[in-house]
Symmetry: C2
Subunit: 325 residues, 2 copies
């Protein structure tokens, strides 16, 4: 009996003693240690798109320029995002199951930006896929948070069966060793990281540098959207009359840049061109009620753009079940 | 060799033949059949709250009244939600791990409203919990999409260890058999369904009818928020200086009722009172930057309220990892 008193759960004991309701609450299970996997699925016609969360990084508001600082701060505060330590910002990638191929668009940061990023492979597995099943990786651009995930922790190709597609203007810029050598020391990492990330694929004959208008993948077209980087490209999926634009880094701060498209971010290679591209893409998305997905919009980063006042506003897609088949 | 030619995956075969890149793509794995589980976690001080998706139901725009139909349609269209078949609307419930107890707030619709709802138990299990571990179920009100989930498919208590808490004004209204008998035939189901859902708990001595101001659970206070139903109540969690208001059915159409709080929904018991309650709760939430969660807001239904123009706007919380311990 002393054994029972020591080990029986109090609630079970109360029931055993004939109470209709437990007199003492049972010890509850432990709280969960981690968030659910950052995975979300949607259909685009016959294609299935899986948003994969690579994690979060902090972007200081001082990186944003092009409007008075008070106006930028007011926009952040209106979204409850003003934070002296920087705005917590998602890094998303998208796995497209075209029906015949698995195509990953961007690959996350792996270990290039610290432990708050680098969850893409874990989330891809949680989504029911293996990295060996990926047929192609399309890169919107060669910044580290989009390319470092091409390599695993041992430096090997994380997607050993995949061809990797790089827009030509990106390759011309970031893979140019002479340009790297001529760059300031603090900028050289932005050349070195994509060169290292692409090396195993280049060595295996799997690196494909392409002109956006010449990309030839079924249901996927590339659209040049330069400014953030010289060859920044977006990918338009189209299937059975439905479309989704994977726009890459058109917006880094949803709280600020939809309302104020004239605000650029420090990392933009050519700020004026980045702003012009953003204005063009936002106008097209709004005019066409186009479904878009963005690398740095709140996960899963999928939604639509509406006109609001002088600028635009973000309308995220609602969590919904998949249509039944 | 014919065996190999027939059964080897083409990509592996290409590798075996010495090609550096496969000449033929491997057959991809099948597309996933279902959405990821509707589960999302957040911390409120030391409490862990798990949002659980019960599914989606369609609400026709004609159920909304209190503003010109064109104004309501314009609000829906601005959120890309105008749909002749009705607006797809979430049903959410919330599991609160207080540290010492598991408290479920609302229980979903089970089979009461068809197969697009009733996923709460599956999502609770996907979240790592068992229904037998739930110590208490707090009900915001006794509408079927909040109470039917109290029973499993066999009509037994789905949460066999739980006490079920019902605000007194709700019990007085919906559990009153004389009132039910005096109601029009088409309204009687709204009495019958909660009576049936609560029966196994009443029989087991686990039904607790309470006055909101007298609710005595650590870190959880009840707030009377009547109008949608006579005893509609909201639950305020507070832990380590953080707060979350589980507000129940203060808003049914986020696209319309934040901007136009004067719009009521057909199901409101007392429309004028529901509108007055909504105005009061929205003002308090906005003034306090209070984190709130709503049963019919886009899953996970957690966010904040900001003032915008004459009304308000919804600012959903961003998907984020749990803070590390």
């Amino acid at each position: 009996m002393s054994f029972l008193l020591s080990y029986a759960r109090p609630a079970l004991l109360a029931l055993a003693l004939g109470a209709t309701a437990p007199l003492l609450a049972a010890q509850p299970p432990a709280q969960q240690e981690t968030q659910v996997p950052g995975v979300y699925r949607l259909m685009v016609g016959q294609m299935q798109v899986t948003a994969l969360h690579d994690g979060m990084t902090r972007l200081g508001a001082a990186l944003l320029a092009g409007a008075p600082a008070e106006r930028i701060q007011a926009r952040l505060a209106a979204q409850f995002l003003a934070a002296p330590e920087g705005v917590s910002t998602a890094v998303n990638a998208y796995l497209v199951h075209t029906g015949t191929q698995l195509v990953l668009v961007d690959s996350g940061a792996a270990a290039c930006f610290g432990p708050s990023l680098g969850q893409l492979l874990a989330n891809l597995r949680a989504a029911g896929y293996a990295p060996e099943q990926v047929d192609a990786v399309l890169l919107t651009h060669l910044h580290p948070d989009h390319v470092c995930g091409l390599r695993d922790a041992e430096g090997r190709a994380a997607f050993p069966q995949a061809r990797v597609y790089v827009p030509k203007a990106e390759a011309d810029h970031w893979l140019d060793k002479a340009r790297m050598a001529a760059s300031p020391a603090e900028a050289q990492g932005f050349f070195r990281m994509p060169q290292e990330a692409l090396a195993p694929y280049a060595k295996a004959g799997r690196l494909q540098v392409f002109e956006p208008q010449a990309l030839d993948l079924p249901g996927i077209r590339a659209q040049s959207s330069p400014g953030h980087t010289p060859g920044h490209s977006s990918y338009l999926l189209e299937s059975a009359g439905e479309r989704l634009l994977l726009w890459g880094d058109i917006v880094h701060s949803h709280a600020v840049q939809f309302a104020l498209p004239e605000v650029s971010i420090e990392f933009d290679s050519d700020k004026a061109q980045a702003i012009a591209t953003r204005r063009r893409v936002l106008a097209e998305a709004a005019d066409q009620s186009l479904l878009v997905a963005g690398s740095h919009l709140p996960f899963p980063g999928v939604g639509r753009v509406k006109r609001e006042g002088e600028g635009y506003a973000w309308v995220p897609l609602e969590f919904s079940p998949l249509p039944s088949r």
